[in-house]
Symmetry: C2
DNA sequence: TGTATCTGACCGACCGGTCAGATAGACTCG
DNA sequence: CGAGTCTATCTGACCGGTCGGTCAGATACA
């Protein structure tokens, strides 16, 4: 071993190359050679560091999921109050049109694999388990503070995530996704808060439609649209 | 031409075979021969009635979409009152575990194609346009009757559909989808109605969690869980 | 010299699409 | 009715190309 971290670096480079390729072409259209070329190595290297194409993509999706979980946790931890946490999540999940398209293309591809291959399905299960945990934390905090409606926190968290995913599918089918990206981001925030917020409390804040003015009751000035790392544009 | 409808029959048989195959293996793993064998014909026939594999699948998804739209419209028309209409939609979309799995596997596959190929994307756009129209009809009726919260009907319809799709993705990732199928169906109904229903009105009906008891205010006895054609199991 | 790493030619399998011909119903014509 | 012909339909061998995976050898660092 030339260097203790050499293998880790190599695998990372290959993962990133695989991610860009899969986002463009899709799992079954991507070849090991495409990935190797993108990573700047020869084809043999891909199967030197991974057992097979499947193995490489399992690794990729696992890594992607851990990275997303980490960033969601960070974003949520940095925001104060349940409403701000939801908004931070939205900002994280809708970073920019190009990033969204890449991630969700890869994600839809992944779902196709997970729906048919057990080993991929398990990764998806882990993804949703992590999301549910994060989302439930927010929901429970909102309920404790009396901002959100009191209901089953697990189910609410699950629906919250469903709204994210479902809107994303719709966005992918839009004629001009770039053009309506902002509209989707704002709509997502609005709809999530409409779904979560306790009626009678901050309902009037929803009507202007400008999410900028939305804040949890009793908290005077939130730290401006939650600052998330990895934001572009 | 032996018979005027012969070609239509042939194409239908091939579509159905392609649907079953794509649900099991996925678009890129299915071969033209698989489809031919499943349809009980020789490989050459598939490309006698369709220009290419892509063409066959575009035709399949278009047909699937039209069929879904039709059945949704029927189900909605047969149900009385907005709450019953929502429940009819849920019953239609969650017919049985096996049908769900087949349809959603195919659907996820389709999304992967639509996210990358313009010709497939257009089909997806048509699908969501039709859904939005149907869903908006229900939402508007609910608002007119004062049962649903007054908001932008188009956006509400879009979120309604997002909850369907998003929950379905989660269901596909479950360890034992068969086992939790009923739970998902009930949760979907509960969450949709929670999202839509005007607070203060039938909120107390939501708490028992038993969707069987849920009905629109002022309508004494709904015609039992909406009867939908094509229901199995 | 030893060994981890890397290379790319190569293999076997597969697949979409083509095509030359087989098949058989329909339609003459006698 | 029956032979002959036409043509829509069907068949499956075949072609060209691709791809995942293998491997013998090259490379270069320790």
């Amino acid at each position: 071993m030339r260097s203790a971290t050499h293998e880790a670096e190599r695998r990372l480079v290959l993962r990133k190359a695989a991610f860009r390729e899969v986002a463009e072409r899709g799992f079954s259209s991507v070849t090991l050679e495409d990935i190797a070329v993108r990573a700047g190595v020869s084809k043999g290297v891909t199967l030197y560091y991974f057992d097979s194409k499947d193995d490489l993509f399992r690794d990729l999706f696992s890594w992607l999921i851990d990275s997303i979980h980490l960033r969601m946790r960070d974003a949520v931890a940095a925001a104060e109050g349940p409403v701000e946490k939801v908004r931070a999540l939205v900002a994280l999940i809708f970073p920019s049109p190009s990033r969204n398209r890449a991630f969700f293309r890869a994600y839809v591809d992944f779902c196709g694999l997970a729906a048919r291959k057990e080993s991929f399905r398990q990764i998806g299960e882990r993804f949703y388990a992590g999301c549910r945990e994060i989302d439930r934390g927010i929901v429970e905090e909102g309920m404790r503070r009396g901002v959100f409606i009191l209901r089953d926190a697990g189910e609410t968290a699950s629906t919250l995530r469903a709204i994210f995913d479902g809107l994303m599918l719709q966005w992918l089918m839009e004629k001009d996704p770039e053009a309506c990206f902002e509209a989707y981001r704002e709509r997502c925030e609005r709809e999530l808060l409409h779904y979560l917020l306790s009626p009678g409390r901050p309902v009037e804040l929803l009507s202007p439609g400008r999410p900028g003015e939305l804040l949890a009751p009793g908290r005077p000035e939130p730290p401006e649209t939650a600052r998330i790392k990895g934001r572009k544009r």
